[in-house]
């Protein structure tokens, strides 16, 4: 079973049976061949049936015609033998009865008469007057026959209307003949006299001459099945092999089997002779007549088949070629070759698919380029963000603060500050990763706030309230710090009073969005400026110079690039009361593949 499957698999692979092209070819062939086959079988059956019917009808017509010809011929003969008070014959009979041999006048006339009949009637071999002493006066002269035997045969074959037809026998000239016998009634004749007509079997051959295939033939048999005439002379006198005693006519019409061979018999009865004309056709030869049609059908089918195959191959090729081409181009595209382009031909679905493919490839190229652009921009923004963090005066001031603490032996504070600064830078770099866990980013902000708080003399308080549930989610690195920095420098420090910064983070209910709010209670922003900033962030207004709202734009742009246009930063502010930067990002559990 396994090996068969393997074999089938190999075969399928070798013949590419799995391809659309092969499937199309097979489909076309099946679609074409099923009706073709049905039509061929139907045509053949119809023709064979029609031929058989024609042969049957023809055979019956033929043998019926033969039977009629036979009747006509023998009826004519009977008329020739029907003489009433023939003067010359009557006189000769009297002379013969009286053993008077002065008979030249009558004998000569009778010979002349008989010879004329012999001449004018085709197939009439001999016509004669038979006397009971055995003398036979015929167109061949006078000779003697065995009268007792003759009479016995006459009696045995006597028909109702007074004639007898004697079966095949050899005549005076040793020719095979059948003989019609009719008594001649001569007034005053002392003995019986008969008129006879010998018919050469060649006449029966002419009457029954027909071609029934190469082996078929026609024969004539008497009522007991004895063959009177047969093309094979050796069978004459024998009982026919087709004769059946259980049938009224002795022969069955239609198909019959004999010694493992099938024949078609057609019969016609000849009432005048009492014989049956039987045509014998070999069934295989009847069937063979279909052979030319069969051959023509096969040739036509073969031609159609070849045509169908060629058409199927052409159509399948025409249909599958663009698909194949599409497949190849798709493969190339999948292998990063986006230069591929289909040249669509026509206006069909495949051509439209080609157009769509081209559009798709173009779009992919655009997206790729856009993605590259975005990535570049993202890198640039990151770097800018990073640059923005590692400002020299931030580092110097922090280091100066550490030095001051060390000099004033505030070692513990200095140690904490160093640790915070280290963490700050370490988290800023984050090993180069683009996104980091929220916990890490929050920790980074904490470090920053801790450092800045120390730098600015605790002018503000800060609070970090981030939901525990979002800490393990991710956020682009350095996204919160610029907002916190803005809250310190533009909010708290601008107000010149003690302030507070609150950083909260939570996941929006029934959403994947995470919102960070960095609120300060500092100076706030003028409404016009607030509107201007938000318009810049939302892209309503274009920039007037590169450094305009740089930190906010950096964060906003990165959020939008990373998560989409609906994300980013929005500012809420009330002059003199504080500002809130609301950052909306998308919650991700894993590091996004960017």
């Amino acid at each position: 079973m396994l090996s068969f499957e393997r074999f089938w698999s190999k075969l399928a692979k070798k013949t590419e049976i799995h391809t659309i092209r092969t499937k199309l070819i097979l489909s076309f062939l099946v679609i074409a061949l099923i009706p073709l086959g049905i039509m061929a079988v139907f045509s053949y059956q119809t023709y064979y049936g029609s031929l058989t019917a024609s042969v049957t009808e023809y055979a019956h017509e033929v043998v019926t015609g033969m039977g009629r010809d036979l009747d006509d011929y023998f009826s004519d003969l009977e008329m020739l033998l029907t003489r009433e008070q023939d003067f010359y014959m009557d006189q000769l009979i009297k002379l013969v009865d009286g053993n008077d041999f002065n008979n030249r006048k009558y004998v000569f006339r009778i010979w002349e008469d008989l010879n004329n009949l012999h001449t004018v009637k085709p197939g009439l071999e001999e016509i004669s007057l038979v006397f009971s002493n055995g003398n036979r006066f015929s167109n061949y002269g006078l000779y003697v026959l065995d009268f007792a035997s003759f009479r016995q045969q006459f009696q045995a074959n006597l028909q109702a209307r007074g004639i007898a037809i004697l079966g095949p026998h050899q005549n005076f000239l040793n020719r095979t003949v059948v003989t019609m016998v009719k008594p001649y009634e001569s007034p005053g004749a002392e003995t019986a006299v008969f008129m006879t007509a010998d018919i050469n079997l060649d006449r029966l051959a002419i009457i029954t001459d027909i071609k029934l295939g190469t082996r078929g033939y026609v024969f004539v048999a008497d009522k007991s099945g004895r063959i009177v005439y047969h093309p094979d002379a050796g069978r004459i006198g024998n009982t026919s092999r087709f004769y059946r005693t259980d049938l009224p006519g002795g022969f069955a019409d239609g198909f019959t089997d004999y010694e493992h061979e099938r024949f078609f018999l057609a019969t016609a009865f000849s009432p005048v002779t009492g014989w049956t004309v039987v045509s014998v056709a070999y069934a295989d030869e009847i069937g063979a007549q279909v052979a030319p049609i069969q051959r023509i059908t096969f040739v036509v089918i073969a031609l159609i088949l070849v045509g169908v195959i060629l058409l199927a191959v052409y159509l399948s090729h025409a249909l599958s070629r663009p698909i194949k081409e599409l497949q190849n181009l798709t493969k190339r595209a999948a292998n990063h070759d986006l230069s591929v382009q289909i040249v669509p031909q026509g206006n069909d679905e495949i051509a439209m698919l080609g157009h769509s493919f081209n559009k798709m490839i173009a779009r992919i190229q655009e997206l790729m380029e856009e993605n590259v652009r975005e990535q570049k921009l993202l890198r640039k923004l990151e770097m800018e963000s990073l640059d923005n963090q590692i400002k020299p005066h931030f580092i110097y001031n922090t280091l100066d603060l550490i030095i001051g603490q060390l000099e004033s032996n505030q070692n513990e504070q200095a140690s904490s500050l160093i640790e915070a600064l280290g963490n700050f830078f370490r988290l800023s770099l984050s090993k180069g990763r683009e996104i980091v866990p929220i916990a890490s980013e929050v920790e980074h902000v904490r470090n920053y706030l801790f450092i800045q708080q120390l730098r600015h003399g605790k002018e503000y308080q800060y609070e970090v309230a981030v939901e525990q549930g979002i800490l393990d989610k991710y956020i682009p690195r350095l996204l919160l710090q610029p907002l916190v920095e803005n809250a310190i420098y533009h909010g708290i420090l601008q107000a010149n009073r003690q302030g507070k910064i609150k950083i909260s983070g939570y996941q929006v209910e029934s959403s994947e969005d995470i919102v960070f709010e960095i609120r300060d209670d500092g100076a706030g922003i003028e409404p016009d400026q607030l509107q201007d900033i938000n318009e810049v962030l939302s892209g309503v207004r274009s920039l007037q110079h590169e450094r305009e709202y740089f930190g906010l734009r950096n964060v906003n742009k990165r959020a939008k690039l990373m998560f989409g246009e609906e994300y980013g930063v929005v500012l809420q502010s009330e002059l003199g009361r504080g500002t809130a930067a609301i950052l909306r990002i998308k919650a991700t559990r894993e590091e996004p593949n960017v």
């Binding site: 030249r104 006339r109 010979w111 010879n115 061949y140």
Partner: protein, 330 residues
């Protein structure tokens, strides 16, 4: 006295024997049951009817069966085929008037090899080995008719002029007919200037001979002499031969072989100047007797049995018309 009684008894026995034997012979009850087949050249030539009747009578008298078979019209091949079948049927004797002298040899020899006695009448086949031939001396008959023509023409004072002559025969292969022609030409060669312009073959049939004769004379009325090698056209009355009658009345000279009642009538009308007849009756009767005697008793006949010739001219015409019976076959 006892001698007288013995003589009486012997005479009585002889009478009884005669009374028993003669009817037995007449009724044909011979134990040997012989069958003798005669083959004339054709059934359609009435000249053989004399022989037929005579043979029938003689056969009845001898107690043998007669078969008289021939093609109706002259047909050498069919005559040979018939002899083949007579051999097959086992006849005891064959007497044939031969159509084709050469062709008949093989079947004659085959018949003789089968123990059948074979003879010829009228037309012979000398090289065939047949037992005997009965008939006339055909050459002699030709000579005599030729001589008779010479005399007729001398009487008319025409012997010196060149005479266009037509000869009508049956078939050039028939030996007897050819012999007659040879004798005729030999007999006239010295005394007459015979110029044979045509030899017509009528296939031994009456009908064809009449048609040929009438057509010929219509086309060639200037012919001077006609020699009929046989009497084929003589079976009809002169009314059936208008061209011949007109030609004869215009001075045409006709002589012929075969003498019978109808021919004599034509001669009396002046259409024929001289006839020589053969004894066909004798050929039938004597031929039958000779072959039966040979078969029954081993009596070997002479190889040639001549039946003699009969002449008919103005001197004996009336007498011959009384002797010969009309045949009435036409």
């Amino acid at each position: 006295m006892p001698n007288c009684r013995l003589i009486f008894l012997l005479v009585l026995a002889a009478l009884i024997s005669l009374l028993v034997t003669v009817p037995a012979a007449a009724d044909g009850f011979y134990e040997d049951d012989l069958t003798i087949a005669f083959l004339p050249r054709s059934l359609g030539n009435p000249i053989f009817l004399d022989a037929f009747e005579a043979a029938q009578k003689k056969a009845y008298e001898l107690g043998v069966t007669l078969e008289w078979v021939a093609p109706f019209d002259f047909d050498s091949d069919l005559q040979v085929e018939m002899i083949e079948n007579l051999i097959r049927r086992g006849v005891d004797g064959i007497v044939a008037s031969v159509n084709d002298e050469e062709a008949i040899h093989r079947v004659f020899q085959k018949a003789m090899a089968n123990g059948i006695a074979v003879a010829t009448f009228d037309a012979d086949s000398p090289g065939s080995g047949r037992l005997f031939h009965i008939g006339i001396n055909n050459y002699k008959a030709g000579v005599e008719i030729g001589t008779a023509l010479v005399n007729v023409l001398k009487d008319k004072g025409m012997e010196g002029q060149e005479l266009d002559t037509m000869i009508m025969t049956g078939f050039r292969e028939a030996l007897n007919l050819e012999e007659r022609i040879r004798g005729f030409l030999d007999a006239t060669a010295d005394d007459l200037k015979i110029n044979v312009v045509s030899i017509l073959e009528n296939d031994d049939t009456v009908e064809k001979s009449i048609i040929l004769l009438e057509d010929y004379l219509k086309m060639n009325p200037e012919v001077d002499v006609i020699f009929f090698v046989g009497g084929w056209p003589f079976y009809v009355t002169s009314d059936a031969l208008p061209n011949f009658r007109q030609w004869a009345q215009a001075g045409g000279i006709a002589v012929g072989i075969d003498l019978f009642y109808d021919a004599l009538l034509l001669q009396r009308e002046g259409l024929i100047q001289y006839l020589i007849g053969q004894d066909m009756t004798g050929m039938g009767a004597q031929g039958m007797e000779l072959i039966v005697n040979y078969i029954r008793y081993g009596q070997v006949p002479p190889e040639f049995v001549e039946t003699g010739l009969e002449h008919a001219d103005e001197s004996n015409l009336d007498m011959l018309l009384e002797i010969h019976k009309p045949w009435l076959v036409k």
